[in-house]
Amino acid sequence: MFDQIAMVVLGLISLAAAIYAMYAKRVLSAVIASGVISLMASIMFLIAAAPDVAMTEATIGAGLTTVIFLYALKHIRSRKGDKHD
């Protein structure tokens, strides 16, 4: 029973993060919200007794993908700065 309640709560949090990522004013907040979705998904995999998949989701989805989005964001900003200077 606790598992089902936790699943529903985590699903609602990831839905809220997804909607926030769509409507967020700053791109940085949207990137972090997408990382939150991956983190919630990895906890859900852990509850569903799939620790291998949970580990992959946490390292790749929440870790590497977020970092690569952040690097891309930084790159776009430095390009924009060059044009204006």
Partner: protein, 232 residues
């Protein structure tokens, strides 16, 4: 207005498409025959408690080889598109005090955790891909914290190529030593005692090689992105 109607129509179409999945769902009481064969065969034939690793490395070993090659091709593509166009060095912003102290403290532990995950993939959850990503994230932490830290692309290149070649030759060793239809079969290696580190034939070696390969590939991707992001 038309846009919103189309969006709602698309969502309803998806719901209609996925409705049979939800309607016909019933909790399975027993495993399907293929899955129960995997679950029973993994400790019996391969001496391996972690069924997921048994499936990934042995029963579906060819798929894993394909996955590793896809990752290699993706890395090669990224390396090609992010190659350095100018060799001008730019000032890297150093990490903050917290970042540098934390990196000194955490990076060795992250590395050990990654090595643990990929060398114990046949005993506990995890494996080559997860351990490789953990090692790459440790290297990323070093890149972000220390200004003078330079990733040696030559070292990454060599460790990646050697582990890839060794992985394929271990697969070929199964083909030669056991016989036809045994490509990537780890049983040519002595099985060893149950639950020991070297216990499931060649699986710990194969998964360690995959871990080194994935870790060096992802570290080289992160280093290329960092270099490309720095220059103008």
């Amino acid at each position: 207005m038309i846009k919103y109607i189309l969006i709602v129509a698309a969502i309803l179409g998806f719901a209609w498409l996925l409705l049979p999945l939800a309607r016909d769902f019933q909790v399975a009481e027993e495993l399907p025959p293929l899955a129960s064969e995997y679950v029973q065969g993994s400790p019996r034939d391969l001496n391996m408690p972690n069924v997921v690793t048994a499936v990934v490395v042995t029963y579906r070993g060819l798929d894993t080889l394909g996955e590793v090659s896809v990752l290699f091709l993706a890395t090669a593509g990224i390396g090609y598109f992010l190659k350095r166009r100018h060799h001008r060095k730019h000032e890297r912003t150093p990490g903050s005090e917290i970042m540098r102290t934390g990196a000194k403290f955490l990076v060795p532990m992250i590395m050990v955790l990654g090595i643990y995950i990929f060398s114990h993939g046949h005993l506990s959850p995890g494996g080559g891909f997860q351990g490789g990503v953990v090692i790459a994230s440790g290297i990323l932490m070093l890149i972000m914290a220390e200004v003078q830290f330079e990733v040696s692309h030559r070292l990454l290149h060599w460790s990646e190529s050697i582990s890839g070649i060794a992985y394929v030759s271990l697969g070929l060793a199964g083909l030669i030593l056991i016989g036809m239809n045994h490509f990537l079969d780890p049983r040519f290696w002595a099985a060893g005692p149950y639950l020991a580190l070297f216990s499931a034939g060649a699986v710990p070696v194969i998964y360690s090689l995959i871990g080194i390969k994935v870790g060096s590939e992802l570290a080289s991707v992160l280093a290329s992105i960092q270099d490309e992001g720095e220059e103008v």
